[in-house]
């Protein structure tokens, strides 16, 4: 696999992640708790992490967050997404090293939990208050639900022969 091919595939994956991210912003929030969303763009991060590696996943994630907050015009959401995303990726890299590719659902749930904890931490720093910690239980519950969904979608996408030919190196 030459590098041009890899670059093209990675940029296609970044575009897919960015598109998912932009569409997801338009979905009105289902629960009146700030910070809860489906996190569908994490599917792409997880796929890149599995099929390519840590460095590539980091690049795709950074591009998606940077362009995503630029297009949506939210300066503050850049900080939230970046902290959450990086913490999520860190946990997923660590777990994928230990567990291998076996427990993808578990890895995805842990990533979602790390993402939400990161977001609460940065919100607590920005607002200079600890009372946002009361959102933690409900954010953890939502992380388990959305993480399971992300993990299942990821499993199906990787096991699909046609899709795998398109996205893997």
């Amino acid at each position: 696999m030459n590098s041009v091919n890899k670059i093209i595939r990675l940029s296609i994956l970044s575009t897919i992640a960015l598109t998912i991210f932009m569409i997801e912003i338009q979905i009105p929030p289902l629960v009146p708790i700030p910070g809860i969303k489906l996190g569908l763009a994490n599917i792409i991060t997880l796929i890149v992490l599995e099929l390519y590696g840590t460095k590539e996943a980091m690049i795709v994630l950074t591009i998606r967050i940077f362009l995503g907050s630029m297009f949506s015009g939210q300066v503050l959401s850049f900080l939230y997404s970046l902290t959450g995303g990086m913490l999520c990726l860190g946990v997923m890299v660590f777990l994928i090293k230990i567990l291998g590719k076996g427990g993808i659902c578990f890895i995805s749930i842990s990533g979602a939990i790390a993402h939400n904890i990161g977001q609460i931490l940065i919100a607590m720093i920005i607002f200079q208050t600890t009372s946002l910690i009361y959102y933690l239980p409900i954010l953890l519950i939502s992380a388990v639900i959305t993480g399971t969904f992300t993990g299942i979608v990821d499993k199906y996408m990787i096991n699909n022969e046609v899709l795998k030919k398109v996205i893997s190196q």
Partner: protein
């Protein structure tokens, strides 16, 4: 780490979260005082028991603002320029630990209990 251990861990996290959620939801704050923070600074503190007629407050500038309604039995955001309107959907809060947060406008409304029991602890 096998599958059973992973599943167990997730269930423990879920159970703790659900328990924590109910604990937080059932806790009531006495002598509620509304504190409004903008950009991390306390800009307004309202004692709800002293509010007679309900009134509206506009926090922010002309382009990015939140319209807050304050009445005797609670405080809520009735209009906001943010894109997701989470702060409006939170509804009225009166004595709950959960604050109203508007992340895009960097606004936080929380309820704090004012302590009046200072003299009780000073028993000689």
């Amino acid at each position: 780490m096998n599958k059973r251990f992973q599943l167990g861990l997730i269930f423990i996290i879920l159970a703790i979260s659900i328990l924590g959620y109910f604990l937080i939801h059932n806790k009531k704050i006495e002598n509620p005082v509304v504190k409004i923070y903008k950009n991390g600074e306390l800009i307004k503190s309202i004692d709800l028991s002293k509010v007679k007629d309900s009134y509206e407050l506009k926090i922010g500038d002309k382009i990015h603002y939140n319209l807050i309604s304050v009445s005797r039995n609670g405080v809520k955001v009735i209009d906001s320029t943010c894109h997701d309107k989470v702060c409006m959907k939170t509804g009225k809060i009166h004595d709950s630990l959960l604050p109203i947060a508007c992340l895009p406008n960097n606004l936080l409304i929380k309820i704090e209990g004012e302590r009046h029991d200072e003299f009780d602890t000073r028993t000689y």
